[in-house]
Symmetry: C2
Subunit: 409 residues, 2 copies
């Protein structure tokens, strides 16, 4: 099925090299015909790594592999394929993952546990590791500092546009770069649209610090997005720090020296996560949901996700129907503290309902104009406390059903 | 929008009188034009009542009213309207509910708290109680023992067929009847397709016993069904027992004398719940999900609901794609104990995946034939314990988006 590019797509930015990273893409014929489907990146010696993975209890073999490899904290390469997720493939799947890592390690001259893996595509078919290992030497020979766009394109599955973000920051007066590429339709996403993201920096940072910053950043970015409430078996986010820029040594606890770096990393994660939502399967509108006045930030996030995952809210936005009653319903079903008679709902900055009923003299005109746009803002104030959260999602359209009702057959 | 009748519809059965119940329907012009939208039933003196309501934290005014009225355990009438849910309507909504109950109580000659109310329709518009109270005297004058079909039709909103079930049972040698009518698309359902169900029996049963039997029955029937994971603000299930049949007195704890009655009540609740799923918005297929081998029955039900609510599983069934990978994904995202390498998945009785990988020599042919039918059976064995549960849902189709993206506008 030919997919038209999401109307919410953003253009790929210019992607300068990240010191210490060489990468490339090629067609290994794992599933797709006539397009790149295999990516490899090699990292300078001393590169540290952090990772966050799916919470799904049936993870793919590459997720198992990465979780084990992450304990070492060191990375020399990552190998990513699109078209086959290597999930629910038993012992054969684990062997395919091991063979892939060993083949890459031999080329790079490192231990297999310094090679990270990610796969995305159909579930339940064993990854043809021989195709992957046969392609690796040629791919390795062609790695360069400048293949970012090719890599961003090669990891796509049902994605309609390639996704990359880059930022710079200063550490002790030296400029470092952070570049991320991603594919998928949500951290919470379809099996053929698993979320994979890879972020690369030339800063020199210990693995434990890297992991702490990544986990914090993910909580505010990827974990605040949802496309369809389904959690992939392969979601993977890896952050590699090559240490190629010779900035002053960062203390183990990070601290003030990393203020700019943290902000840039958070921006990269935030923008990458939103690119994924912008390419949500069938998405026509980007929806931002702000919840305030909750008893806690955690409670606010749960309420926001209940709204974001409600098929009725998502279809109403798709139909450009400013149906605030469905937002009230979604707040009420979240199971979090909420008082119908203190609840207020706004869309596009216009308060529609307040204190348990419609706002007197409510005029729908500006709200209807707002919901006809590409970006829809929903605000809910629970009127109970100071907990707040923001979550992003997309609308639920016919194209979602087209893509997911007919993909595999 | 004209809705075509669900292909999963069942014909309305013959509905004999239930002793002690007189009912009727009429057009009150609350929202719909040219069709009945108001139902009233009057019960013999001494009628007891039990009820189960939405868990949504933003319930409608009629739900508030019923919860308070239920404390008395006695009922003389129920008044139901379609087209306006009287939800999120503040003080005016509560007053509209009170005025409706008072008007019905005056006609019947009872206390307002012996009148039960249910409303279904749009959220956020105050119920025009004056239209309702103006229509009630004419409606009351025309009540009869035989208006069951008219009542089942008048409570419909986005329903495509009327829903009723009837059974008989013996209590101490006397035959009693249990008849239920329902509307909606799920206990967990759209705002315009709130689930309402009313069950009537001529047995003589104390309110506390009635409530215990209803709560038990709902856990195995309505609460094992889902259409789209959204919980209405108005879901209401009421059970009235008129006591018009003079059977031997039932002890307070029920016991063996009620064995046949319990089974008949459970059958009515089960069949009514499945009628609602059969009319799920846009449903083309009825999906039954059996989960076995869980650590507990509760855990099994959570896993089954995770599968039933997964948009990816539902769109795959709609597309007649026997995509067991998505079932594995939905098991894994449930957050319940599950071991990828002990998990087995079957469709239509054919095991597709076992012990963490595809069944050797798996032949998709019989499964493809099964999924092309109207009723699709999914079985998951977790291989961990003896917990089991069964849940019913429907597929997710374009019609769901048509209905919910354009209803109100």
């Amino acid at each position: 099925m030919a997919l038209t590019v999401s109307p919410l797509a953003l253009p790929l930015p210019a992607l300068p090299p990240v010191a210490g990273v060489r990468l490339g893409a090629m067609a290994a014929g794992i599933r797709y015909v006539g397009r790149d489907d295999l990516v490899m990146a090699e990292f300078a010696p001393g590169t540290t790594v952090a990772g966050v993975f799916t919470t799904n209890k049936c993870p793919g073999a590459p997720v198992d592999w990465c979780r084990a490899a992450l304990k070492g904290g060191k990375a020399r390469a990552v190998v990513i394929n699109a078209g086959n997720a290597n999930v629910f493939t038993g012992r054969a799947g684990a062997q395919a993952a091991k063979a892939s890592a060993e083949a890459a390690a031999k080329l790079v001259g490192c231990r297999p546990r310094e090679v990270f893996l990610a796969s995305t595509g159909v579930i339940g078919q064993v990854l043809p590791a021989e195709k992957l290992t046969a392609a690796l030497p040629g791919l390795y020979g062609a790695l360069s500092e400048s293949n970012w766009e090719a890599a961003a394109r090669a990891i796509m599955t049902t994605d309609t546009f390639p996704k990359a973000v880059t930022r710079t920051a200063e550490i002790g007066g030296e400029t470092v770069r952070i570049t991320g590429i991603a594919k998928g339709s949500g951290m919470v996403a379809p099996d053929m649209a698993t979320m994979l993201a890879f972020v690369f920096t030339d800063a020199k940072l210990p693995a434990a610090l890297l992991q702490a910053m990544l986990s914090r950043g993910v909580a505010k970015s990827f974990n605040c997005t949802t496309v369809d409430s389904d959690t992939s078996t392969s979601d993977t986010l890896l952050l590699f720090a090559t240490g190629a820029v010779k900035h002053p040594r960062v203390p183990a606890e990070g601290g003030a020296m990393l203020k700019g770096f943290r902000a840039a990393l958070d921006a990269v994660l935030h923008d990458l996560a939103l690119l994924v939502v912008r390419d949500g399967e069938g998405a026509q509108k980007l929806i931002r949901i702000d919840v305030t006045g909750a008893v806690s930030a955690k409670s606010a996030k749960r309420v926001a996700l209940s709204i974001a995952n409600s098929p009725l809210v998502k279809t109403a936005v798709a139909g450009e129907d400013a149906n605030w009653g469905r937002i009230v319903m979604a707040v009420g079903k979240a199971g979090e503290p909420a008082d119908r008679d203190r609840l207020s709902v706004a869309m596009g900055g216009v308060w529609m309902a307040r204190e348990g009923t419609v706002v007197p003299g409510y005029d729908e005109t500006p709200v209807v104009a707002h919901i006809k746009g590409r970006e829809v803002d929903i605000t809910v104030d629970l009127g109970l406390g100071s907990g707040a959260a923001t979550v992003w999602t997309c609308d639920l359209t016919h194209a979602y059903i087209d893509i997911n009702g007919s993909y595999r057959s």
